[in-house]
Amino acid sequence: MLSYIDKIKEISRRLLKESKVDMVIGFRKGTVVMMNEPCFVKTVADVDKLVWDSNCGINLANYLANRTEKIGIVAKGCDSRNIVTHIIENKIKRDQVVIIGVPCKGMIDRHNIEAMAEAEIQEVIETDDTIQVKGAGFEKTLDKKEVLQENCAICVHRNPVIYDELVADEVKEQTDVDRYEDVRHIEALSPEEKWDFFEDLLSTCIRCYGCRNACPLCYCPTCFVDESRPQWVGKSQDSTDIRTFHFLRAYHCAGRCTDCGACERACPMGIKVRLFTKKLEKDCLELFDWEAGLTLEKRPPLDTYRPDDPDEFIR
């Protein structure tokens, strides 16, 4: 995957030089280990800033909504699915974007890696399959497969589903993954246990809304939690209000969420917010045979009607 960068640069240079796009959205090298920063590049000279490695987990589709320029965008499998969703929802036009597809082998989970290290990690060296971490008095080499972001480990759409250029041959999709083990575990709980489970899950939430803001789907001009005339949700640290935010946010993503993991990655408190959206994602798959962002041809289940709807009351 590290070798992709040459091709990404080559394509970006060409697109900019031929004025096919006004900017390319990609990543530049971060200032701390295991972090890269989303950035735009507007000139050929700046293309050299771009990087690609296993720290490009942020979903770049988040930077597209309502933009008016012509944009080249580097897109992993999940980003491409969110671009599809954006196009379906009229957040960007198909002919406005040149999608530089990246067949992805998974992004690494920096919080998890940090938790595994004895002390602060000062240097990280990556190869295609390994992640070597170094710090004061320790050094170890980790198998990249073992330290992937959780959503990457169970991803079944690593290849971009829509693209104009591909930076490398497609990678093999994973087939033997169990996507919903954790959801089944929660489904099996009693209502009281579920209540306690979520109470515990959200106990450290500081309501920064990082999970919401990292999500490409959350582009509403005014989010329901920010609506002040009238105000829908209390703004304090009251647990009912925190819970209301989380449940409603998840429902607003139903049938649209691609499980890109952006929300969980952004949470400064390490809260597994994907557990909410994954349940809805599972339901959409089981009830409507739907996975978000795979095609421009069909409408998502929640904004369409089908005579064979599984729920009797609506048929």
Partner: protein
């Protein structure tokens, strides 16, 4: 300034005595990270932690805090009148606060305890709190405290500085508040009066370990309008998702928003932390918002910390270099980079 030695064997016993008259707070592990919390009976603060995920700001200034209560019941004589709420401001102590976080309270104090405005909630709770600091022997690579007006053994803002030396803690008593706390803990303070030398040596060693720096010397002389209109803001703010994490983990951010919540006929007025990163921040009743876009919000954060504050108080930047915003920004927007951009900005 007196320095005493506390035998680590006596540490727990002293804290136990202390807990009789002080409510104790300290760093403790919560799943994968550390936070400041009220210590339970017999629970010891974990002093090995490098830095907590959230700053101890909430101990003095909770994220959500009641201010007044009221009733709308017109049969009551005092309906529609805001009434003060009885609050508890008994002595408390934060054990194991890092020098940067303690200094941060002084920065915030300039705002909450200003000659023209006094914030009673913050002041009372700050005054009730004794800060027992813990010198940083192994600062993180993101810390840039030494160039942000602070340092790993910085004493300003602390009441006591603890330094870990083998099987003892050296405790340097900085204020009278600190003295009172030591008396209440009842550690044997007479027999072994230590000197300041080892602290000075460790301080130098720790400061030398800090490799991350910012330059702030030019900020004051730069023109506010030039900085405000600088062309780098679009590039700086592009990645920002306006999540507010940087401001919520920060020990020096102070903004809040006041809300009334009514339930039936009774209600409370409360305040909640706010952040310049949020769409409701400075949103006017008219519907106008002078900071309507992401770029404007990001600029506000950095201009406030690195320019307006510098100009208004003439006492350095509104940042102590704790590095939290650098570590936890989900998209890696780095105040050190922005500070240097601002400091070296030329038209």
């Amino acid at each position: 300034m007196k320095v005493i030695k506390i035998d680590k064997k006596e540490w727990a016993k002293g804290l136990e005595r202390l807990s009789k008259t002080y409510q104790l707070f300290g760093p403790a592990k919560h799943e994968a990270f550390f936070v400041f919390k009220a210590l339970e009976d017999g629970e010891l603060p974990d002093l090995d932690v490098q830095n907590t995920r959230l700053s101890p700001r909430s101990v003095i200034y909770p994220q959500s805090e009641k201010m007044f209560e009221y009733t709308l019941d017109e049969d009551q004589e005092d309906h529609h009148i805001l009434k003060e709420i009885d609050k508890e401001y008994s002595s408390r102590a934060i054990i194991g606060i890092r020098p940067c976080d303690a200094k941060a309270f002084l920065l915030v104090k300039r705002n909450f305890d200003a000659p023209e405005y006094k914030d009673p909630y913050w002041i009372k709770s700050y005054e009730a709190t004794t800060l027992v600091g813990h010198g940083c022997n192994a600062p993180c690579s993101c810390c840039f405290c030494t160039t942000a007006g602070c340092g790993p053994f910085h004493e300003e803002g602390l009441d006591i500085l603890l330094v870990d030396v083998d099987d003892t803690y050296l405790a340097k008593i900085i204020t009278e508040k600190g003295d009172r706390l030591l008396a209440a803990a009842g550690w044997d303070t007479k027999t072994d009066t230590a000197t300041n030398d080892p602290i000075e040596n460790m301080k130098e060693a720790a400061e030398a370990k800090i490799t991350s720096m910012v330059s702030t010397d030019q900020l004051k002389d730069k023109s506010t309008t030039d900085l405000f209109e600088a062309s780098f803001w679009e590039d700086v703010s592009f990645a920002c998702i306006n999540c507010g994490t940087c401001t919520y983990v920060c020990p020096t951010c102070w903004c809040f928003d006041i809300q009334d919540e009514t339930h039936g006929l009774s209600g409370i007025r409360m305040r909640n932390w706010d952040s310049c990163m949020y769409p409701l921040f400075t949103f006017h009743g008219s519907g106008h918002n002078p900071r309507d876009t992401k770029t404007q919000r990001v600029r506000q954060r950095f201009m406030h910390k690195l320019k307006y504050y510098v100009d208004k108080y003439d006492n350095g930047i509104q940042c102590v270099g704790c590095g939290r915003c650098v570590r936890f920004c989900p998209v890696n927007i780095d105040i050190r980079r922005v500070c240097d951009l601002m400091n070296s900005f030329e038209l």
